[in-house]
Amino acid sequence: MIVEVCGLGKRYPAFELKDVSFGLESGRITGFIGRNGAGKTTTIRSMLNLVHPDCGEIRFFGRPLAGHETEVKQRIGYQAGTVSWYPRKKIRDIVRIVKRFYKTWDDAAYHRYLDRFSIDEGKTPLELSEGMKVKLSLLLALSHRSEVLILDEPTSGLDPFSRQEILEIFTALKSTGVTVLFSTHIISDLEKCADDILYISRGKIAAAAPKEDFIRRYSRDGETLEDTMLRLEGGTAYA
């Protein structure tokens, strides 16, 4: 496992993340599904050390995040919600500062993805559409050769064409060995590109399995994945 999350817990006044455990295998795409407020963002923000879990351990590349934060972050890419930082700074200026933090920053890769994503360096994040903001996050992540991408609802709020484009990018990245974890509440995203499904409900991991195993185990005859998820989330017995 390239990423391991063990016994993660976080208590808020109105919500509790309980004993969240899962692993990510190298070179696979994991779709992290759950309804709004199920705990996806809290889990992801804990993995990025933005939220302090009450208990549990997060390990990247066999090392605990705690105590190895700097070296772990050198090797991962992230998108914690939509790009909302430095909205009035030119992308060129943001990149000029950011690249200095990464030992593995690759200017050639940066320009390659800049062209591929059709991002204008002279624009500011404020001038980008939601889809382009996701691509900007991916651009920064990929330009320092991230081995693991952790993305919080990258397809949320995108039109179907942009969503499809982002999912195709994930698939292309997988073929280069990049591990992708993306959260979503759009079930068709999972059908299109996920290898593994991580399903969280009411702060607990309800299922974690390869997509085919998940369908075999939980879907009834004639059901689509969307039907299955809606039935599971509706509270029908599924264990």
Binding site: R45, L48, N49, L50, V51, H52, E69, T70, E71, V72, K73, Q74, Y78, A80, S84, W85, Y86, P87, R88, K89, D93, I94, R96, I97, V98, R100, F101, Y102
Partner: protein, 217 residues
């Protein structure tokens, strides 16, 4: 750490932080409560914190490959750099008033406190209070600016009031020394202010690192 300082200077900072540095030259203005210059410089720094909050700077910085504590240290370095620039202008102003303009009538007839070593030390105390009360207070939450800044305003103007009053107290007239008068007192007052600044800033930075490590972004 150099990269974090560069990020502070080019991405996070408000231009007002730079534009307010020349307020250090208010030390040249006769008949003016010169310690207000330290307050104005702090006001410029406050704008950078507001700017950074609006730009989600803390989340962005915390996601960079640096320890969270270094994000805090980067902010303190930026604040201290701006304060040091303003202090330099204040020190130059003091030197001019102590030497070239020491006999100028406009300064001799100054009703308020003179620009001297004691004034420099007092400015350092105000900067130290800004770092302790405002910057330290900000890092308790990572977003709340108003309450710590109001706390700083009260402390700063109390300090200004006390500093302006002290030389009227019998026996403390030397605090308002002209030119090179009472050099030992002036040097000691400046040094004491700097020590207070360093102690307040170091304690604040240490506490802010601990607080920032604990908060959820």
């Amino acid at each position: 750490m150099r990269d974090l300082l560069r990020k502070e200077l080019f991405l996070s900072a408000s231009v007002l932080s730079y534009l307010f540095i020349p307020f250090g030259l208010l030390f040249l203005v006769p008949g003016y409560p010169i310690l207000c210059s330290a307050f104005f410089v702090s006001l410029g720094l406050f704008q950078s914190f507001q700017n950074a909050r609006e730009a989600n700077d803390l989340v962005f910085s915390a996601l960079l490959p640096v320890a969270k504590a270094d994000v805090v240290r980067g902010k303190y370095r930026f604040v201290c750099l701006i304060e040091a620039c303003a202090f330099l202008l204040m020190a130059v102003s003091v030197l001019l008033r102590m030497t070239v303009f020491s006999e100028a009538a406009v300064y001799r007839g100054n009703a308020l406190m003179n620009a001297n070593g004691f004034a420099l030390g007092s400015a350092c105390v105000i900067f130290g209070l800004f770092n302790r009360i405002f910057v330290g207070g900000f890092f308790k939450t990572g977003y709340r600016l108003g309450r710590p800044f109001v706390g700083f305003i009260i402390a700063a103007f109390l300090t200004i009031g006390i500093a302006e009053t002290l030389h009227h107290v019998p026996g403390l007239e030397m605090l308002n020394a002209f030119g090179m008068d009472h050099p030992a007192v002036q040097l000691s007052a400046a040094a004491a202010g700097m020590i207070v600044f360093l102690l307040l800033t170091a304690a604040s930075c240490r506490k802010a690192c601990e607080d920032f490590e604990r908060i959820d972004l």
